[in-house]
Amino acid sequence: MKKSESILDTARTLDAMDPDLVIVRHAVAGVPKRIADVLDAPVVNAGDGAHEHPTQALLDMLTVRQVKERLEGLTVTIVGDILHSRVARSNIHGFLKMGAEVRIAAPPPMIPVGVESLGVKVFTSVRDALSGADVVMALRIQHERLTGSYVPSIREYSTTFGINRAKLHYAKDDVIVMHPGPVNRGVELSHELTDDRPSVILDQVRNGVAIRMAVLYLFSGRKSQSGRGEAA
């Protein structure tokens, strides 16, 4: 969906096609929820603004569980532009719900106000945030954020918040490295971490297919049973 489209018109248009399932991605938070409010068919949120990206969190949790065989009790550190990241928010909700500890580390202007109320521990030092971590998740940083006043430069960002082998020494020996992709190589992750273990980025991509197939399978055909749709 694009900006400046009437939500009701969009919902009515979709409804006229009598869909089994509607997948919505929008640049502004809340649009999938408002479409789900008026639509009969189930609505899958495929990412809305800086709000949520639920299937990304599901595939990330699946990936971690495949490697660690559990989620409960793990320490998950998310590094990067938390302020603008829907991936971060969905993973925060998901991993906390499954009993993990979630830490975030970011340049201070990229830490959302009041984020500790979500239940995360907030760090500005990557070293402290990585200490004893089982999982490190680096977020993609949008190029326009690097040229505004959030951070001074790509070089400074990659030195302070980019994840490389040296920084990983603070984490547990069997730490895994994740990224929702596509990676800005040498910025969020160093080259060697992008390609090799402990990176599990390609497992994430593979699991993305499985999770989205599962979501489609579980939600199609739900319309007649559930009446009102719900944002997943």
Partner: protein, 431 residues
């Protein structure tokens, strides 16, 4: 003109601190007598039993959209909505098309008000030409034409040097300068209050410090220039404290607060309802508490609705694209009666903030029940329960966060210049 006897209500006159039961007799458009058991011969009787008889409310901050955006509202529909809410006088902001920055437009609005609106209409002129924040408007000509104050409202003057000149120049006509305090650079892309709720919803936050910084700048400029400053729709606790402090220093400042900032928090946005999007945004519970405290202790002088109609198709966009603003007239009274029910303010003091203070700040008639004063009155039933449906209201628009909610308290009758213009059972009667 006819005789009207408003019989048997609780008379509330903040100018004399009168709070006792009695009648009000109206003759020839003015208040003829106030007291117990007045002679009703030949008079139309309006029963106020169990209700309040108060000077009509004066809304000093509204958007009537005429000229130029009549699809949202016009002076006729806005005026009807006003009297249905108990408002007998309404000041309207200058962000019309064309902008009210010249005497012809001011005259047009006054003329439309006289002929189309049951409520008295008072135009507020722009403070800078075209609301562009650069050149001071022709304040003496505008004041001569009938402008009651000067404001760029939501197009806040960002340049401190220009604001200084606006304040200085306004002294030429002893004008009132009204500021909508938001520093654009701190607002950034923000569309709701910055805090835990915006973080959870993933919507860009507008921090309260964007308001505070500009309030403090303008308080200091008012102190420097000695001009009369009025701070519109205060929503932040820090701003309330800054205004309180400035008043103690003797700065010539007054302030208003809106019904929504007195009662709703940023949690109202949790369902992404764009009818909760307003500027400045709904803030935290602590800010709401500070605004209520400020209203009670007199730091915030007036209640003003910031009535801001928008068409359905404009509000039916995503939360970033939808314009800020909500309807105010018909819900203001029941919403602020919450403070009376909570024991925070007396009916007399509430009426002072809805009626007397705004009339005094703008230096217009109204706000009292003195014999000889224009008969602008409202009769209030503070207990009456009713379901608010904007579609059944008088505004052309429906953007209200209270739509579909049960309300307690209502204007039963509204009298302007001795004419019954609204009665809850009959609706708006004239023009």
């Amino acid at each position: 003109m006819s005789r009207i006897l408003v019989r048997g209500g609780r008379i509330l006159d903040p100018t004399t601190n009168r709070d006792e039961s009695g009648d009000v007799l109206i003759e020839g458009g003015v208040i003829a007598a106030v007291g117990e058991g007045l002679d009703a011969r030949g008079a139309e009787i309006i029963d106020a039993e169990g209700g309040w008889i108060a000077p009509g409310f004066f809304d000093m901050h509204t958007h009537l959209r005429e000229p130029g955006q009549e699809y949202k509202e016009d002076i006729a529909s806005g005026g009807r909505s006003a009297v249905a809410g108990g408002f007998t006088s309404v000041a309207c902001m200058a962000n019309t098309h064309p902008v009210n920055d010249d005497p012809a437009t001011t005259g047009f609005i006054l003329d439309r008000g006289r002929h189309e609106s049951p409520a008295r209409i008072y135009p507020i002129a722009a403070a800078t030409r075209g609301l562009a924040g650069e050149t001071v408007t022709e304040m003496s000509a505008l004041a001569e034409a009938g402008a009651v104050a000067f404001s760029d409202d939501g197009r806040t003057i960002q340049d401190g040097g220009v604001m200084r000149h606006v304040l200085e120049y306004s002294k030429l006509v002893d004008g009132l300068v009204i500021v909508h305090a938001e520093d654009c650079s701190l607002v950034g892309a923000g569309v709701m209050n910055e805090g835990p709720v915006s973080t959870r919803l993933g919507l860009p936050g507008n921090p309260s410090i964007a308001e505070d910084v500009l309030v403090m700048r303008d308080l200091m400029l008012a102190e420097l220039t000695g001009a009369r400053l009025h701070v519109a729709h205060v929503s932040s606790g820090v701003s309330v404290a800054a205004i309180r402090n400035a008043k103690e220093r003797g700065v010539s400042v007054t302030a208003e607060v809106s019904p929504h900032h007195l009662t709703l928090t940023d949690e109202a946005a949790i369902g992404y309802d764009t009818n909760t999007k307003v500027a400045p945004p709904l803030r935290s519970a602590a800010d709401v508490a500070a605004c209520r405290e400020g209203l009670v202790d007199g730091t915030l002088d007036a209640i003003a609705t910031d009535h801001a109609p928008h068409a359905l198709h404009e509000k039916d966009l995503d939360f970033v694209e939808a314009p800020p603003g909500l309807l105010g007239f018909e819900t203001a009274l029941p919403v602020v009666l919450d403070l009376v029910r909570n024991g925070e303010i007396t009916p007399l003091e509430l009426v002072r903030r809805l009626s007397t203070n705004p009339a005094r700040i703008l230096n217009r008639p109204g706000g009292d029940l003195a014999v000889g004063s224009p008969a602008d009155l409202v009769i209030v039933d503070p207990e009456r329960s009713w379901l608010y449906d904007p579609a059944k209201g008088y505004s052309k628009s429906r953007n209200s966060p209270w739509a579909g909610q049960m309300m307690q308290g209502r204007a039963i009758a509204t009298i302007v210049g001795g004419r019954l213009v609204y009665h809850v059972d009959k609706g708006v009667l004239v023009p």
